[in-house]
C-alpha cells in the first residue's frame, strides 16, 4: 500500500517534470490554428511538420543547427584529447606544482565565465586582426573559448578515471617493450573510454548551450550564428510565432537528449567519479 503511494507520487513527479518538453514537441507539431485557439488541448489530431519546414527553410535554422554541431563536436574532440593528456600527467607523475595545478583547475570551475565575456570580447577582436578564423564573427572564436571553459572540469573528471587504471597494466606493457606513445594511445586511452564518454557529455552541453558568447562574438555575420542566439532573434516581443519557436527549440533539444540517454549509465558512474573519486 505504502509502496503504491510512493510509486504514484514518483510517476506524478515524472509527468510534471517531462511535461514542458512534451508541450514543446506537441506545439511544434500542432497546426497554427490549434496553437492560437483559446482552448488548448494536450494532444493534436492533425500533426504537421510545417513549423519545422519553415524553421529549417525560411528562418535558416538548418544552417544554425550545423554551426552549433560543428562548434560542439570540435570542442568535444579537442577537449577529450587535451584533457586526457593533462589527466595522465596529473595522475601518473608526481611533480612539485601538481597540487597547485589541481586546485587551480578546481577554482577555474567556479569563475563566473559570463564576466569574462568583457575582456574576451576585446581579446578576440584583437586576435582576429592577426589570426584569421578565430576573430569576432567566426565559429573558431566560439570553439576556442568553449574549449577553455570545458577543460578544467574535463581534466578534473578524467583524472579519476585515469587513476582507476592500475599502474601494473602500463608496467606490463613497458616490460613488453611498448613505447610511451603506444602506452598512451593503445592502452590507456581505450581503458578510460567510459570516462571520456561522460566528460564528452559535459563538454558537448557547455558548447551546445552557450548563448552568451555566441551573442557577444557573432555580431554581424548572421550566417555564423549558433542555435541559442538565433532563437533569441526569433523571439519577437509581441507577435511570437510560437509554433516556429517550439520547432526550433525541439531541434535544439533533441541532440542533447539523445546524447544523454546514450551515455546515461556512464554519466551516473562518471559523476560518482568526479564527485567522490
Amino acid at each position: 500500500m505504502r509502496r503504491r503511494v510512493a510509486d504514484t507520487v514518483a510517476i506524478l513527479v515524472a509527468l510534471v517534470t517531462v511535461f514542458p518538453i512534451y508541450w514543446m514537441v506537441l506545439s511544434a507539431l500542432k497546426p497554427n490554428g490549434e496553437i492560437l485557439s483559446a482552448d488548448p488541448r494536450p494532444w493534436t489530431l492533425h500533426p504537421t511538420l510545417d513549423h519545422f519546414r519553415s524553421a529549417l527553410g525560411v528562418s535558416g535554422f538548418g544552417r544554425y543547427f550545423l554551426n552549433s554541431l560543428v562548434v560542439a563536436l570540435a570542442v568535444v574532440a579537442l577537449s577529450a584529447l587535451v584533457a586526457f593528456l593533462a589527466a595522465v600527467a596529473l595522475t601518473r607523475y608526481r611533480f612539485r606544482s601538481r597540487s597547485t595545478m589541481l586546485v587551480m583547475f578546481l577554482i577555474a570551475q567556479m569563475v563566473p565565465v559570463e564576466a569574462l565575456s568583457i575582456p574576451l570580447f576585446f581579446q578576440i577582436r584583437d586576435l582576429g586582426r592577426t589570426v584569421p578564423g578565430v576573430g569576432l564573427n567566426t565559429l573558431g572564436s566560439l570553439v576556442l573559448v568553449q574549449l577553455a571553459f570545458s577543460l578544467p572540469f574535463a581534466i578534473w573528471m578524467l583524472r579519476g578515471f585515469v587513476a582507476a587504471v592500475p599502474p601494473e597494466v602500463e608496467e606490463a606493457a613497458i616490460m613488453d617493450g611498448a613505447s610511451r606513445f603506444t602506452i598512451l594511445w593503445r592502452i590507456l586511452f581505450p581503458l578510460i573510454a567510459p570516462g571520456l564518454a561522460a566528460t564528452s557529455v559535459f563538454s558537448f552541453i557547455t558548447a551546445w548551450n552557450d548563448f552568451l558568447f555566441a551573442k557577444t562574438f557573432i555580431i554581424s555575420a548572421t550566417e555564423n550564428q549558433t542555435l541559442p542566439a538565433a532563437l533569441l532573434v526569433f523571439f519577437k516581443p509581441d507577435e511570437n510565432d510560437w509554433g516556429g519557436i517550439m520547432a526550433a527549440s525541439t531541434l535544439m533539444t533533441v541532440p542533447v537528449l539523445v546524447f544523454f540517454v546514450f551515455v546515461r549509465r556512464r554519466l551516473v558512474s562518471g559523476l560518482g567519479g568526479a564527485v567522490k573519486e
Binding site: P20, A115, I205
Partner: protein, 286 residues
C-alpha cells in the same frame, strides 16, 4: 616532468582563461567606455574608482541582495526536492524509478535556452496554457518582481534538481547494505536508520552538492536574460551576472562591468574555499 602532456592544456588555458581573468581585474581599474573602444582615446586609470562608484550606487546593493536571495531560494528548493526524490527513488518499484529517472534526465538535458523559452510559452499572457487553465486571460506573470523571480527560479530548479537527485541516489546506493542491516539488527527503525546512518554517511556528498548548487545558481544568466528580457521591467529582475553584462555591453561601461565581475569572482572564491574543505573531508587527494 611530464611537461609535454600538460602543454596543450596550458596552451589553451593560459591565453583563454588565465589571461582574460587578469584582464578583467585590470579593466576594473580603468575608465573604459565608448570613447576608448571606438575613438582610440587612451584608457584612464581610476584605481578603485569603479568600485567606489559601484558601492555608492544603491542599485548595486539591490542587485547584490536579490542575487543572494534568488540564488539561496533556488538552492534550497533544488536541494529539498532533489533529496526528497532521491530518498523516494529508493522506495519505489523499478518501473516508477525508470520513469522518474528518464523524466529527470530530460529536464537536465534541456538547454537553458529551450527550457526558458518553453516555460515562457506555458506562462504566456495570451496563448499560454497556464493562463487558459486558470482562466486568467492576459495576466502577465513577469510584471511583479517577486512573481517573475519565482517563475525564473522554477525553471532553474527544474533544470538542476535532477543532478542533485541522481547524485544523492547514487550516494545512497553506494552505502553498503550490511551497515543498514546492522542498524536494523540493533533495533533501529527505518527512520532512525536514515537519520543516524544514511544521512551522516552522505554528509560529505551533500556538502559538495550544496556548494555546486550555490555556485551554479549564483551564476544564472540565460534564464534571467531570456525570460525577463534582459533583466525585467526597469531592470527589476537583475542579478549580478546580467547586471555586469548590461553595464558593459548595453551601456558601454566596460570598466564598471568588469568591477562587478570581480566582485562576483571574489564572492565565488570564498564559496570555493568551503568547497575545497568539503572535498578534503571526502578524502579527495589534492
Amino acid at each position: 616532468m611530464p611537461l609535454w602532456l600538460l602543454l596543450p592544456a596550458l596552451a589553451v588555458l593560459v591565453p583563454m582563461f588565465a589571461y582574460p581573468l587578469y584582464q578583467l581585474g585590470l579593466l576594473s581599474l580603468f575608465d573604459y567606455g565608448q570613447p576608448q573602444v571606438s575613438g582610440g582615446e587612451p584608457a584612464r586609470f581610476v584605481g578603485a574608482g569603479n568600485f567606489r562608484t559601484l558601492f555608492a550606487d544603491p542599485a548595486f546593493w539591490t542587485v547584490l541582495g536579490q542575487t543572494v536571495v534568488f540564488a539561496a531560494g533556488c538552492v534550497l528548493v533544488t536541494l529539498a526536492l532533489g533529496a526528497a526524490l532521491a530518498v523516494l527513488m529508493t522506495r519505489i518499484g523499478k518501473l516508477a524509478r525508470t520513469l522518474l529517472s528518464y523524466a529527470a534526465l530530460t529536464a537536465w538535458a534541456a538547454p537553458a535556452m529551450t527550457g526558458s523559452v518553453v516555460w515562457m510559452f506555458l506562462f504566456d499572457s495570451n496563448l499560454g496554457l497556464v493562463n487558459e487553465v486558470l482562466g486568467l486571460d492576459g495576466h502577465n506573470w513577469l510584471y511583479d518582481r517577486t512573481v517573475a523571480f519565482a517563475l525564473v527560479g522554477a525553471v532553474v530548479v527544474w533544470h538542476s534538481f535532477p543532478f542533485v537527485m541522481i547524485t544523492l541516489y547514487a550516494g545512497i546506493q553506494a552505502i553498503p547494505p550490511s551497515v543498514l542491516e546492522a542498524a536494523a539488527l540493533d533495533g533501529a527503525s527505518a527512520a532512525t536508520a536514515f537519520r543516524r546512518v544514511t544521512a551522516p554517511m552522505l554528509r560529505p556528498l551533500i556538502a559538495i552538492v550544496v556548494i555546486q548548487s550555490i555556485i551554479w545558481d549564483f551564476k544564472v544568466f540565460t534564464q534571467i536574460y531570456v525570460m525577463t528580457r534582459g533583466g525585467g521591467i526597469a531592470g527589476q529582475n537583475m542579478v549580478l551576472n546580467v547586471y555586469a553584462y548590461q553595464k558593459a555591453f548595453a551601456s558601454s561601461q566596460y570598466g564598471l562591468g568588469s568591477a562587478i565581475g570581480i566582485v562576483m569572482t571574489l564572492i565565488l572564491l570564498v564559496v570555493t574555499l568551503f568547497y575545497l574543505r568539503a572535498l578534503r573531508r571526502t578524502g579527495e587527494v589534492l
